[in-house]
């Protein structure tokens, strides 16, 4: 049995990792829950965002915040463009999965073409900075990612809950035809939402570049965990996604500390399977 300090540290790093999972899950959860489109390309977009951050920061020496300021709006535009295509071809929930899978493979190839399959690391002065609270170490960048995730979750929740566009999106997700009959311009709002989802992929990408080492195949590494987070959190529910991210992050890191790192995936997937079989009406 590991010591209390080790467990505590596992808890802390689990929460921080969970923040990043949440950040990756937001866009997926929104487009699945409110547009009924399952966007596998979301992971690829996030990784593309990470590589762009690396390129702008490591090669062109832009400060990270400037890179973020350039990437996030550009990704918003990408998201809108993606939705234009998906709408034009009347893509359904199931076919969206296949089309965006294809897109993810293409993006993976593009990334590998430009940056090769070698590992890339964006070295910043903050990378090793960490706070020390009692016996626990808290890496500053991961804390920042986690706080950003929390802020975005709350802002998105409020946006969906209180603004006209948010209410219209939720109404259209329930029944697009009826919402349309009441004057909701579902299509225009869908473009906004798709843009926002992609912009969140950009935000996640910036943090991924700052925190971790990059390799093109990482796209697939996140797939299972983030889907688990999205489903456990409830579709279209950013706060739920963040909490689910914490849950998965902590259960993974505690498993790593108690058993072995290699057992970690078992936890998130078992939770996902359990929820799907026992509470399918949640999704």
């Amino acid at each position: 049995m590991p010591s209390a300090t080790l467990l505590g540290q596992a808890l802390v790093s689990g929460l921080l990792a969970g923040g990043l999972y949440g950040l990756l899950a937001f866009g997926l959860s929104l487009s699945w829950g409110l547009l009924r489109l399952v966007n596998l390309a979301h992971f690829a977009l996030a990784l593309l965002g990470a590589y762009l951050t690396y390129q702008l920061g490591h090669v062109l020496h832009w400060p990270p915040w400037l890179a973020a300021a350039a990437i996030v709006p550009a990704f918003f535009a990408l998201g809108v463009a993606l939705h234009v295509v998906l709408r034009h071809f009347r893509v359904t929930e199931l076919t969206s999965l296949l089309v965006t899978f294809g897109l993810a493979v293409i993006l993976e190839s593009v990334i590998q073409w430009f940056w090769t399959a070698d590992y890339r690391r964006y070295e910043t002065p903050y990378a090793s900075a960490s706070l020390r609270i009692g016996p626990f170490f808290i890496p500053v960048l991961e804390l920042l990612a986690c706080l950003t995730a929390a802020a975005l979750a709350c802002a998105t929740w409020a946006w969906l809950r209180f603004t006209y566009v948010g209410k219209a999106l939720r109404a259209a997700a329930e029944d697009a035809a009826i919402a349309g009959a009441f004057g909701v311009n579902h299509r225009r709002h869908a473009f906004v939402l798709s843009g926002v989802s992609a912009a969140y992929a950009g935000v996640a990408g910036v943090f991924i570049a700052l925190i971790s080492t990059l390799a093109p195949a990482q796209i697939w590494a996140w797939l299972g965990v983030v889907f688990a987070v999205v489903i456990i959190g409830g579709l279209g529910n950013p706060v739920g996604a963040l909490l689910a991210g914490f849950l998965i992050g902590v259960s993974e890191s505690v498993t790593m500390a108690v058993a072995a790192p290699a057992w970690a995936p078992l936890v998130s997937f078992s939770i996902l399977i359990g929820i799907l079989v026992l509470r399918p009406e949640r999704v």
């Binding site: 399952v38 071809f89 893509v91 929930e93 199931l94 076919t95 999965l97 296949l98 089309v99 899978f101 294809g102 897109l103 993810a104 493979v105 293409i106 190839s109 593009v110 590998q112 073409w113 697939w220 797939l223 299972g224 889907f227 688990a228 489903i231 072995a260 290699a262 057992w263 995936p265 078992l266 997937f269 078992s270 996902l272 399977i273 799907l276 079989v277 399918p280 009406e281 999704v283």
Partner: protein, 577 residues
């Protein structure tokens, strides 16, 4: 020789002809590429058995493939079992695994579509993690280089080619057989509307389980062969995203609902992947395949094979099936009395049926009326077995119906129609009726069922529309299609849920004479209806439901004049003292 056996003979003949290829002494590289083509044909075709035909999109094919890989690896590399002897075991392990998953998952109604896909993907990763952390692998991977390979021909690559070719041939021939047998028809019906399929008599649970197990067994054998082919297996490569995504891609590209579609898709994709080999070209090849996938799904969402077949048919201007075979005489059926005794059904706190008792005798028409929400449709749903009742008993003649699954009830001779017609969207009018005839009370082969379906279409005046797809029919025709489908099950009792609503007076008149004819054949009819003229004209007796209780029963005029009925329909003030 029927079309089915001609096709299967064609597949087997092609397989035998291709088996001669190693004799040509091709370079090993070509044999390897061809091995991969047939490897993927077997995997993609087996995937489509459940996922293509029944629409249960699985992303878990990698789990069954992986189960096969590690069964062969463990038995051959660690216990010295001869390689070929491990393959049946690999098939069994994979089939048992899928059946175990299916027994749990197929009971949960909502686990369809993308949820089933995610669930199966998650199972793949769980299985991978377990293999990685146990003695089966342990982390570093396992070598099979010491396992002796039996030589079918001189070269090892030729041997692998023949093994994969054999598996692919058997799988494609099997898929062809399935699509033309009861199993395939049932799976297609599940794809379009699982609830209706069950009520029409398709044993949906058993069929899904069988399709899942067959599909996994083939994947298991393919895995076993592939373990030997790569001769060094790792968890990372085996339980990766590659297998599930490639089989989905290949099947969807070729046409997942057609027996030959996945084979075509697999050939196109494997061949184009190998057109680009080495370094940057491979990268380009992968991107190109992804691009093909996107284009194919956006432009030919049904897949290559069905799209091409449809084009060819249209070019020949041939009807989908000539409706010229003379309709056989309609079979007479032995009616039976339906009895509901003190039936209760609650949904959460809402009691939809509160002790309903009624009988419908042989050759009797009983009208079931009542305000909206009074429990009429719920009663039909519990009689047909769609919902289980909480208390009470429903019998047909001497047989107890309640507590049997819906498909068994259909088999005992209970048919129903839906208020809003629910035809199987991908089948023609004839296919729809033939399905009910195949799975209804009398057991018939699909071919006999088709002949009989013609007769029922003629009976309901739809013979001209036999080849039409449901979305091409108007409301009146779809209502009559519902009726034809219900009759094709050779029911002893038929439950009609508002067959007349939305029809014009002329159509109602023809429907009424149709119902009289049905009754004359000895069938007991329970019909829910709001069109009062028809109720009064047709019913021998009328039962009035309100808030889940029978408030009046008797001849049409007695029942409709009962004070409580007038009260419910018009309000208290109108009751004549």
């Amino acid at each position: 020789m029927s079309e089915r056996w001609r096709l299967i003979a064609g597949v087997l003949g092609t397989g035998v002809a291709l088996a001669g290829l190693p004799l040509l002494g091709l370079p090993a590289f070509y044999e390897s590429v061809l091995y991969l083509v047939f490897h993927w044909i077997a995997l993609a075709t087996s995937w489509s058995l459940l996922s293509g035909y029944a629409g249960y999109f699985s992303f878990g094919h990698g789990a069954f493939f992986g189960a096969g890989v590690y069964t062969t690896t463990t038995l051959a590399a660690m216990y010295g079992v001869p390689f070929l002897a491990t393959l049946p075991v690999a098939a069994s392990v994979a089939a048992l695994l899928s059946a175990g998953i299916g027994v749990v998952v197929f009971r949960v109604k909502r686990l369809r579509g993308e949820l089933f896909g995610l669930l199966t993907l998650a199972i793949t990763f769980v299985l991978g993690t377990i293999v990685l952390n146990t003695r089966l692998d342990g982390g570093p991977g396992v070598y099979l280089s010491n396992v002796p390979l039996p030589r079918l021909v001189a070269s090892p690559t030729g041997t692998f080619y023949l093994l994969a070719l054999g598996l692919a041939t058997v799988t494609v021939a099997g898929a062809c057989l399935v699509t033309r047998a009861r199993l395939g028809l049932g799976l297609y019906a599940i794809h379009d509307d699982e609830d209706v399929a069950e009520v029409e008599g398709v044993p949906t649970f058993a069929y899904k389980l069988v399709a899942f197990a067959l599909s996994a067994a083939v994947a298991g054998v393919a895995g076993g062969i592939h373990a030997m082919y790569v001769s060094y297996v790792t968890v990372g490569d085996t339980f990766s995203i590659t297998v599930p995504l490639y089989v989905v891609l290949m099947s969807v590209l070729g046409g997942a609902r057609h027996w030959l579609g996945p084979a075509v898709g697999a050939t196109v994709i494997t061949a184009s992947l190998y057109a680009f080999t080495g370094g940057e070209q491979a990268l380009l090849g992968r991107a190109l395949v992804a691009l093909i996938l996107i284009a194919a799904i956006l432009v030919v969402p049904e897949g290559i094979v069905p799209t091409v077949l449809a084009r060819v048919r249209r070019a020949r201007a041939q009807p989908r099936e000539a409706a010229t075979t003379p309709a056989p005489a309609l079979p007479r059926v032995e009616g039976a009395a339906l009895e509901c005794h003190d039936v209760w059904k609650a949904f959460g706190g809402i009691e939809a049926l509160r002790g309903v008792s009624l009988t419908v005798g042989r050759g009797e028409i009983v009208g079931l009326v009542g305000p909206n929400g009074s429990g009429k449709t719920t009663l039909i749903n519990v009689i047909s077995g769609h919902y289980a009742i909480d208390r009470g008993r429903i019998t047909l003649g001497a047989t107890v119906l309640s507590e049997r699954p819906a498909h068994r009830i259909a088999g005992l001779g209970v048919s129903r129609t839906y208020q809003i017609p629910r035809p199987f969207a991908h089948g023609s009018a004839l296919d729809n009726v033939a399905l009910a005839a195949t799975f209804g009370a009398a057991r018939r082969t699909p071919r006999e069922a088709r002949a009989e379906a013609h007769a029922w279409l003629e009976f309901t005046g739809l013979a001209r529309r036999a080849a039409a797809l449901p979305h091409e029919l108007n409301l009146h025709e779809r209502k009559f299609l519902e009726l034809a489908r219900a009759l094709a099950g050779r029911p002893r009792v038929i439950l009609l849920d508002e067959v007349l609503s939305g029809l014009n007076p002329g159509e109602i008149a023809s429907a009424i004479s149709l119902l009289r004819e049905i009754r004359a054949r000895g069938v007991a009819i329970l019909f829910v209806e709001h069109v009062m003229r028809a109720v009064l004209e047709l019913s021998d007796r009328v039962v009035v439901l309100n808030e889940g209780e029978v408030i009046a029963a008797g001849t049409p005029h007695e029942a409709m004049r009962a004070p409580r009925v007038v009260d419910v329909y018009l309000g208290k003030g109108h009751v004549v003292a």
